[in-house]
């Protein structure tokens, strides 16, 4: 069963169409990069995937459960790292994680075990009592990843998660998420506008003017549309060209 299945998804802000008939799927354990220039519709797609906006047309299924008809089991399988930090800066690392666990209705005992495990995995055990305000950008991101994984989702959604990080932290974050993909069989949807964060073997989705103009393995798409990823992306997202 696919970790994520988006079918025929369209969304409009009044008369302005932000997404038109977007369909794609993501298999378990795969890393998919979602690329698109500003205004391509990425933020709208993320808002729909995280239930901030209600689906107008089409459907989104997480682990086989429709966000429209079975939001509860669908959201249980979804972990999210938002573009802008959503941590409470004045609360400690552990308090932030416990709040998230409570939102997912996890028991106290289960929360304790999962918080310990995720903090250890992110090498944050020593900092669990520190206020988030005292952490640097890279560490804050790791707290957000720990938080997103606390309820053991099948699908992890990262919305421009590397924005604001220095190159070394950016690389480390990207590698870390890939290792989770391999080891935990976690499916990852990684939105970005930075081409160097995409690897040849990744699934690649290119969104342009609200439409999915290309989808497939990154190296195959690159060959089909210009030789390397940069020129393929440029060709597919040139104004007026919609695939």
């Amino acid at each position: 069963m696919n970790a994520l299945e988006v079918s025929d998804l369209s969304f409009s802000y009044g008369a302005r169409e932000a997404l038109r008939q977007v369909s794609f799927s993501l298999a378990p354990g795969r890393f998919a990069a979602l690329l698109g220039p500003n205004g391509a519709g990425k933020s709208t797609l993320i808002a729909l995937l995280t239930r901030l906006y209600d689906v107008q047309r089409g459907d989104i299924r997480v682990g086989g459960c429709s966000l429209r008809d079975a939001a509860r089991p669908a959201l249980k399988q979804l972990g999210v790292v938002f573009q802008q930090s959503t941590l409470d800066l004045d609360l400690s690392v552990e308090q932030n994680l416990r709040y998230h666990a409570a939102l997912h209705g996890m028991s106290r005992r289960q929360t304790g075990l999962r918080v310990d495990a995720e903090l250890a995995r992110q090498a944050l055990t020593e900092r669990r009592r520190e206020r988030v305000r005292e952490l640097n950008g890279g560490h804050r991101r790791r707290v957000e990843i720990a938080r997103a994984l606390l309820h053991e989702p099948r699908l992890l959604l990262l919305d421009e998660a590397s924005v604001g990080l220095d190159p070394a932290s950016r690389l480390a974050l990207n590698q870390h998420i890939r290792s989770l993909c391999r080891e935990q069989h976690l499916s990852v949807l990684w939105t970005t506008h930075l081409l160097d964060e995409v690897h040849a073997s990744d699934d690649l989705l290119i969104l342009h003017q609200g439409r999915l103009v290309a989808s497939g393995q990154a190296d195959v798409l690159s060959l089909e549309h210009g030789g390397d990823l940069g020129s393929a992306f440029a060709r597919l997202t040139t104004p007026g060209v919609t695939g």
Binding site: A47, T86, L103, R108
Partner: protein
């Protein structure tokens, strides 16, 4: 059921931690009513003699009269501020986290309203404590009886705040809310002057005050503080809380906000 309880207690705990950690916010919420009590009321004491009116058994100084209204003023400011920030402000981030919870959105919003209302009560009782030291001393039993009344009023005002922020784009900044919601609700009420005094000045102003839900909120708390029951005020507050909460939940939709911003 347990998941719901875990979620609700988590939301309350977060509000509590934020309250404890942000002391300046707590102090600034106290400064406003204390200025009214210690400065404004002292200045007007001579000008405004208060006749014997229910629920009081005797002549009272002006400070005694305005304490219930000032307690409700704390709830009014907190309710409006909290609900607005919930939808539009920097808290948008934390709102997104809240909405990724698998529990129903209605439950999440109601939990959030209840949690912020519970925290507001701490501020009200801190104010009542200072007023007690200053000499405004309602019966101890009245302080206990006021608790459910204050909670109901806090819920009513938070729900109203959320409803307004869903419905009216112009209320996105707090100055607009001050001018068009908080000031009219507060000044056109029985918080600062008994309504019979208002009637002496103007019949239509009196009716505006008498119909103002905030007047009923203030009277509910005033009566409870002096161990009396005001059924009309209770009925109005319960009814309006249900209506405001229902409408607020039904109209809550971040995509409406996005739509308004994009047009």
């Amino acid at each position: 059921m347990n998941a719901y309880w875990q979620c609700f207690s988590g939301i309350v705990l977060r509000e509590w931690l934020r309250f404890v950690l942000q002391r300046t916010r707590f102090l600034s919420a106290l400064v406003r009513p204390l200025l009214w009590l210690l400065v404004f009321a002292a200045g007007f004491r001579a000008a405004l003699g208060i006749a014997i009116i229910a629920p009081y058994d005797t002549y009272i100084p002006y400070e005694v009269y305005i304490v219930p209204g000032l307690a409700c003023m704390i709830l009014l400011f907190n309710g409006m501020q909290g609900s607005l920030s919930m939808v539009y402000d920097r808290e948008m981030g934390s709102m997104r986290v809240l909405l990724t919870s698998p529990l129903p959105r209605t439950f999440l919003l109601c939990s959030k309203l209840l949690a912020t209302s519970l925290i507001s009560l701490l501020q009200v009782y801190a104010f009542l404590g200072i007023a007690w030291v200053y000499g405004v001393q309602p019966p101890v039993m009245g302080l206990l009886m006021a608790l459910p009344a204050l909670l109901l009023v806090a819920l009513m005002l938070s729900a109203l705040g959320l409803l307004l922020s869903n419905a009216i784009r112009q209320l996105e900044n707090f100055a607009g809310v001050m001018n068009f919601v908080i000031f009219p609700l507060f000044f056109l009420s029985s918080a600062l002057y008994p309504l019979w005094k208002m009637r002496d000045s103007s019949e239509w102003l009196y009716w505006l005050c008498a119909l103002n839900p905030f007047s009923h909120a203030v009277e509910l708390v005033r009566f409870a503080l002096y161990e009396r029951f005001n059924p009309l005020a209770l009925a109005v507050c319960v009814g309006l809380t249900l209506v405001f909460a229902l409408l607020a939940v039904l109209t809550f939709n971040p995509q409406h906000a996005a739509l308004r911003k994009s047009t």
